[in-house]
C-alpha cells in the first residue's frame, strides 16, 4: 500500500517523522465528532504514521476534517454503529495493510496519546496479543458516582459472560496484535461490541493484560455516557444471535 503511506506524508510534510510508529495503526471509529476530531488526529500524527478513521455515516464534516488532519478515512454509506465501524477498520487493516498492531482509540478526545504509546510498548515488549486500557487500576480517572456505577455493572456482566477478570469493560483504548485481529469477528454493530470483543478474545485464549490509563472526561464526552439499563441490552444482544 505505497499510496497509503504517501497520502499520509503528503498531508503532514512539516512533521519530524523519525519518531513515528510505522507498523502500528491507530483505528478511530468516527461519528459526528467534527468539533473535536481535528485535535485528536493531529495529536496522534505526531507519533503515528498511520491513523485510520472509519466514519460511520456522519452527518457533519467529520470525515473531511479527519482527512485534512492526516488520517486515512473510510466512510460507511449509512450509520451502522461503533462495533460495525471497528470491524470495517479491522477488515481493512488485515486485507490491505501490513499493520502489526492496531490501537483502537475514541474520537471524542477522552484517551491520552501517552497511554496508547505505553500500551503499544508493553504489547511489543511482552509479546502480548491484547492490552486493554483500564481506568480503574489507579485513581487518576474521576468518572463520578453514576458513571462509575454503570461501568461497574458492565464489568460484572462482562466477567460473567466471558470469564475474563477485567476491571474495565467499556474502555475504547486497546492494543490488539495482528494475530488477535484474526480472531475477532464483531457481529454486534452497536455498543455491545465492547463485551463481544472480550468474549471472542477469551475464546481464542490469547495472552492479555490490563494497563492503567486515564480517561479525560470533558463535558463533551460526559454527555454521551451509557445508561444502566443498557447493560440489559448488552446481555440480550449477546445471547440472541
Amino acid at each position: 500500500m505505497v499510496c497509503q503511506n504517501e497520502k499520509v506524508s503528503v498531508a503532514q510534510p512539516a512533521r519530524d517523522t523519525h519518531n513515528r510508529e510505522d507498523d502500528a495503526w491507530v483505528l478511530i471509529p468516527l461519528f459526528n465528532e467534527g468539533q473535536v476530531i481535528h485535535g485528536v488526529v493531529s495529536d496522534l500524527t505526531s507519533r503515528f504514521s498511520h491513523i485510520l478513521c472509519v466514519d460511520d455515516g456522519s452527518s457533519d464534516d467529520s470525515a473531511s476534517i479527519a482527512r485534512a488532519a492526516g488520517a486515512t478515512v473510510l466512510r460507511h454509506p449509512i450509520n451502522l454503529g461503533q462495533g460495525a465501524a471497528l470491524q470495517t477498520g479491522f477488515d481493512y487493516l488485515l486485507t490491505r495493510t501490513e499493520a502489526t498492531h492496531v490501537i483502537t482509540f475514541d474520537a471524542d478526545g477522552q484517551h491520552r496519546l501517552a497511554d496508547a504509546l505505553e500500551m503499544l510498548e508493553l504489547a511489543r515488549r511482552k509479546k502480548l496479543s491484547v492490552v486493554f486500557g483500564s481506568r480503574f487500576l489507579d485513581k487518576r480517572t474521576k468518572p463520578g458516582f453514576k458513571k462509575r456505577a454503570v461501568l461497574k455493572v458492565a464489568v460484572l456482566l462482562t466477567r460473567a459472560i466471558t470469564g475474563l477478570r477485567l476491571t474495565d469493560a467499556h474502555n475504547g483504548l486497546r492494543v490488539l496484535s495482528r494475530e488477535a485481529l484474526g480472531h475477532i469477528r464483531l457481529q454486534q454493530n452497536g455498543m455491545s461490541h465492547a463485551t463481544e470483543i472480550v468474549h471472542q478474545l477469551a475464546v481464542a485464549k490469547l495472552s492479555w493484560i490490563e494497563h492503567p490509563v486515564e480517561v479525560l472526561y470533558t463535558d463533551y464526552s460526559r454527555r454521551k455516557g451509557q445508561s444502566l439499563l443498557n447493560s440489559i441490552n448488552i446481555l440480550i444482544d449477546l445471547m440472541v444471535r
Binding site: 504517501e6 466512510r75 460507511h76 451502522l80 460495525a84 454493530n189
Partner: protein, 117 residues
Amino acid sequence: MLSQWIIAIALGAVGIYLLKARRTASHQAIRRLFIVVALIAGFVAVIFPNYTTVVAGFLGIGRGADLLLYSFVVFALFYVVHQYRRQLWQEKLTTDLARALTLAQADIEDLKDFGKN
C-alpha cells in the same frame, strides 16, 4: 392438566427458537407446516364451532373460546420472535453490504491517488 403442559412446552419452544433458531430449510419447512395446520384448524373451527369446545374439554381448558385465545397468544409470541430474528439477519446483510461498499470505495480512492503520483 394436559393444556398446562402443552402451553408451557410451547412457550419453552418459542424461547429456544429465540436463542437457537438457524436459517435452515428444515426450520422453514416446520414453520410452513404450522401455517398449513393452523389454516386447516381454523377452517374446521369455523365450519364446526362446537368442535373447539370438544377439543378444549379434552385438554382440560373448558371453553373453546379460551382454547382459541391461548393458541393465538402462543402463535403471536412465536411470530414476534421470528420477525425479531429476521430483522437481526437483515441487519447483518445490510452491514456486510455497507462494509463491502466502504472497502471498495477505499480501493477506488487508492487507485485514483496512485494515478496522480
